[in-house]
């Protein structure tokens, strides 16, 4: 069972707080924008050079000069701003962006992340991922708990080439919400209908379970 990608995005949206500047990566993280609670307002940063990123445009509003970091046509909200990529990564490095949400192929129990390269396969490049994980104040990973082969993506140590070291703070998967602590993955919440035993069996890294683990409140 577990959550679908929309459920993962919805759960991550609960981490958003009023006034935050947030960078959402490609894939599930982008979906988080669909679940921003109505009573808070956040500013989305797109690392090609925009703050205040809005939804996809209506057909008549499409503008080739206005795209996001995923090269999708988007809009800009009132109060938004444009800047160049060097400045964009400057604000990321300087810690101005409060929260980064991105996908991963592997996360280690010490917060290392691998998400850019699979040896033997065509390497497309890291894009902005290495800059974001090295500098963001808070990093949440959105991903499936296991890979298509059923193998755990939460490991004692990453096996794939790293994107960054000791940087991930929280992981939200189809099965669970986990914090990265000095002792390992601390299980905070279970997806509805998912047992602690199932999570334990699918987590290869060190899993810490303290007392009763509540179900996610979606």
């Amino acid at each position: 069972m577990g959550l679908d990608k929309f459920g993962i995005a919805k759960r991550i949206s609960r981490e958003l707080k009023d006034g935050m500047y947030v960078n959402l990566g490609i894939g599930i993280p982008t979906l988080v924008a669909n679940y921003i609670p109505a009573d808070i307002s956040i500013m989305l940063q797109s690392e090609n050079g925009m703050l205040g990123m809005g939804p996809y445009p209506a057909e008549a509003e499409i503008d080739a000069d206005l795209i996001n970091a995923g090269k999708e046509t988007v809009t800009i909200l009132p109060g938004g701003a444009f800047f160049d990529s060097a400045e964009s990564f400057g604000m990321i490095r300087a810690g101005k962006v409060d929260l980064t949400v991105l996908g991963a192929m592997e996360v280690s129990e010490t917060g290392d992340i691998a998400n850019w390269k699979i040896p033997g396969k065509m390497v497309k490049g890291m894009g902005g991922a290495m800059d974001l994980v090295a500098s963001a104040r808070n990093i949440i990973v959105a991903m499936q708990h296991t890979n298509p082969k059923g193998e755990s993506k939460l490991l004692p140590a990453c096996t794939l080439p790293l994107t960054g070291v000791r940087c991930v703070k929280k992981v939200v998967t189809d099965l669970a919400v986990l914090d990265i602590t000095p002792e390992g993955f601390l299980l905070l919440e279970r997806a509805p209908g998912v047992s602690v035993e199932e999570i334990r069996s699918k987590t290869a890294g060190k899993l810490i379970v303290r007392g009763e683990v509540p179900e996610m409140d979606l």
Binding site: S85, S88, M130
Partner: protein
């Protein structure tokens, strides 16, 4: 005190500082085989379409191209890949192009991948005359190999070098004949830094205006950085991912 005589500046309307060129072919006329060229744009957004087409016509080879991406099949830098004019790409993300993949796997093409912020800042540092800088991006990963590591405030950083080019080619929205440039929306991307970093900078603009028509408050790249400028034509502005809101 005797009155200080005002220095009379050249009237920019009569002196065009010889930056105006007739078009892309004249602008790139002296780019030689083996040159290192920076090309502005992010994906296909804000790429110098006219000059890329002129480079393809000119047929110069063994180019090292610095650009965040490598275009798509048959458009943008993809055009120069199809004609085998590129020897090496310095980029951050190159996944949108089958010809690129084929040439990379066959060993015809060399690629140096940089984290996107590192790439942008290497160019910016060249523009600012700073030879190197320290960034945390890539520390502890394979791109740290061979790079100096320094600790500042308990955090580890890699030393990265400024990135220079023989020629920079950018596309701006508006420009004047003195080389002042204004960019539109997210087309600033890598282009403003690249425009300032090239040994020779070529700007193609959608709208060329006379000096004085751009508000000096709004100029994003000052004319001092730009050596050649022309009004481009027939911009296709192809969209890579056309996403619309479902109403």
């Amino acid at each position: 005190m005797a009155g200080i005589k005002l220095i009379v500046f050249l009237d920019p309307k009569s002196c065009q500082m010889q930056k105006l060129v007739s078009g892309p072919d004249e602008a790139i006329r002296d780019i030689p085989h083996g040159a290192t060229i920076m090309l502005g744009g992010f994906g296909l957004c804000g790429i110098p379409e006219n000059c890329i087409a002129a480079l393809a016509r000119k047929g110069i080879k063994n180019l090292t191209c610095i650009s965040n991406n490598a275009g798509v099949d048959g458009f943008g830098l993809g055009m120069l890949l199809e004609t085998r004019q590129i020897k090496k790409m310095i980029s951050s993300y190159v996944g949108e192009n089958e010809e690129f993949e084929r040439q990379l796997l066959s060993g015809e093409l060399e690629v140096e991948l940089n984290p996107q912020g590192t790439l942008a800042t290497r160019i910016q540092m060249a523009a600012m005359g700073i030879p190197a800088f320290f960034t945390p991006a890539g520390f502890g990963t394979e791109i740290a190999q061979g790079k100096e590591v320094r600790e500042f405030g308990g955090k580890s950083y890699l030393m990265e070098m400024a990135l220079h080019a023989d020629f920079s080619i950018v596309k701006a929205w508006k420009g004047d004949s003195l080389g002042n440039l204004v960019f539109r929306k997210t087309t600033r991307n890598f282009s403003t830094s690249m425009a300032k970093a090239g040994n020779i900078t070529i700007a193609e603009v959608e709208e060329l205006v006379a000096p004085g028509e751009l508000d000096p408050e709004e100029v994003q790249v000052a004319g001092i950085y730009v050596h050649r400028i022309f009004q481009g034509s027939n911009y296709e502005k192809r969209i890579e991912r056309r996403t619309v809101q479902l109403l």
